[in-house]
Amino acid sequence: MAISQDAHTVKQFDVQLANLRNLVLEMGGLVEEQIKRAIQALDDEDITAAREVISRDQIINGLQVKADEDCVSIIALRQPLGSDLRLIMSLSKIVTDLERIGDEAEKIARMTVKIYEGIGSPPSAKLLRDVVPMAKLAQDMLHGCLDALARLDVEKAVEVAQGDDELDQEFQSALRRLITYMMEDPRTIGHAINVIFIVKALERIGDHSKNIAEYIIYLVKGKDVRHVSMDVLVQDALKEE
């Protein structure tokens, strides 16, 4: 049984659930903004902007704590069942992944500071060539799953989950290229390692987004699609009951 859209007899319950969902979506919006600004700061070589990203991570951490408190309070007061129970469990898990994505954005900002703070020469453009396209993929995935959450759209969630493979492949090629540069010119090793951390962070954002997409499928369909093959995931998610 999919999500019931009818109102609860206890109207306050509806209000609490709506507030919690809005809080999670607001947190998602902030996390998206953090990635965007972190990548922008890297592109602009702007240390000040990168430091702002680092300090803003505290706001996201605060929202995570607030969302978890709300989940606990709803469980204690309402003993949710059925789709309400799945909603609470999924949101609570989604919040954890969003917070981690926030941490990855912060990590990118820290690397930016590290790269451009020193007196040495900045990295050459070819070292950074994979960052922007990978960031685009990661941002699309995160945006897609927030969209799917807002509209409880399983098809969109499946699309996001399927997108993770492409990002993983991009990460592998980026890694190969960076290793080649380091072998060709050992002086690039310092910067290249920092760039590896950045592309790794982007790859992790894809993983967390895929997790969120899986929670959305569980929330809507009641099927746990973690740790299954992509074929099974697609089948479970799109099967009509």
Binding site: M1, S4, T9, Q79, L81, G82
Partner: protein, 296 residues
């Protein structure tokens, strides 16, 4: 004057039932009248009771509509649903308690160990010894604690002498988790106990005649949380030896004590399934709306 659609439908159902569910039918199969079908699997591998095409009428009103359901041996099954959905009515069919209501009429088939319990040769007193019942409000007899438990075994001639009876009373009270609280006051009236103790006394009384199935009609609704917890613990222990069918308004209770759950709505059995599935991922919208509190 033309007959209404509803009257036609009821008449049709009656005709169908009379034709397709004769009393002495030995092998039964799932039937689906009027395209109304229960969601989930109504059959189990080792059924203790088998119900097919059960209808209950109070006068003209049809309170249970073509319900088919298996009750598995040694399982706890919970019946849930809003007030007036027929869950208690259906429960009372299972040991023919509805016989006591003059305007009540039951059609269809209910078997206990493959024997039709509505067969005219069935001794209703014997049936109720095999299928015991515990009610919503504790209702001990106005007799001593000892006599409350001893009454059933004595009238059923289950014991030969006083010593055997004493043992049986003690054993029943022990299984009901009450012995420690009452062993020093066996001769005090049953009504002198607290509500929770009285309910456990009623359970002891029910199990003293060694039933196979115990029907419980909201056994905890008049009890405090601690007494409720003791009864729930007891239900879990009794499951080893008995089949238990419990009607409850508390979904948390249904979720805690039962392995299967059946959801009734306006006389229809809407959905039946494993308790975990019913409370986390029900398949029918009515079930979902009821358990999440969206009803009406």
């Amino acid at each position: 004057m033309s007959t209404t659609a509803l009257e036609t439908k009821v008449a049709l159902d009656q005709a169908l039932n009379l034709d397709t569910a004769p009393r002495k039918q030995s092998s039964v199969e799932v039937t689906d009248y009027n395209n109304r079908q229960t969601v989930g699997k109504i059959t189990v591998d080792n059924p203790k009771m088998v119900c097919r095409g059960v209808n209950v009428y109070y006068g003209e009103k049809r309170a249970i509509k073509n319900v088919g359901l298996d009750i598995g041996a040694n399982e706890v099954i919970a019946f849930i649903g809003p007030s007036g959905c027929g869950k208690s009515t259906f429960l009372r069919c299972l040991n023919r308690m509805n016989d006591t209501i003059p305007i009540c009429r039951v059609t269809g088939q209910i078997q206990l160990d493959a024997d039709d319990i509505y067969d005219k040769d069935v001794d209703v007193v014997q049936l109720r010894a095999r299928v015991g019942m515990v009610f919503q409000k504790p209702n001990p007899f106005p007799k001593s604690i000892y006599e409350n438990v001893a009454y059933g075994p004595r009238i059923h001639g289950m014991v030969n002498n006083k010593a055997e009876l004493d043992d049986l009373v003690r054993e029943s009270l022990e299984r009901a988790g009450l012995i420690k609280e009452v062993e020093k006051r066996m001769n005090e009236p049953g009504t002198s106990l607290s509500g929770g103790q009285q309910q456990r006394l009623c359970i002891a009384r029910a199990i003293a005649v060694n039933p196979e199935v115990i029907l419980m009609d909201e056994p905890c609704s008049a009890l405090d949380p601690i007494a409720t917890a003791k009864i729930e613990e007891l239900i879990d222990e009794l499951r080893e030896n008995y089949t238990i069918i419990i009607v409850t308004h508390s979904m948390q209770q249904a979720a805690r004590v039962s392995q299967r759950t059946a959801y009734f709505h306006l006389g229809d059995l809407i959905e039946v399934g494993d308790t975990d599935q019913i409370f986390t991922n029900p398949r029918h919208k009515l079930t979902e709306d009821y358990i999440t509190g969206r009803f009406g």
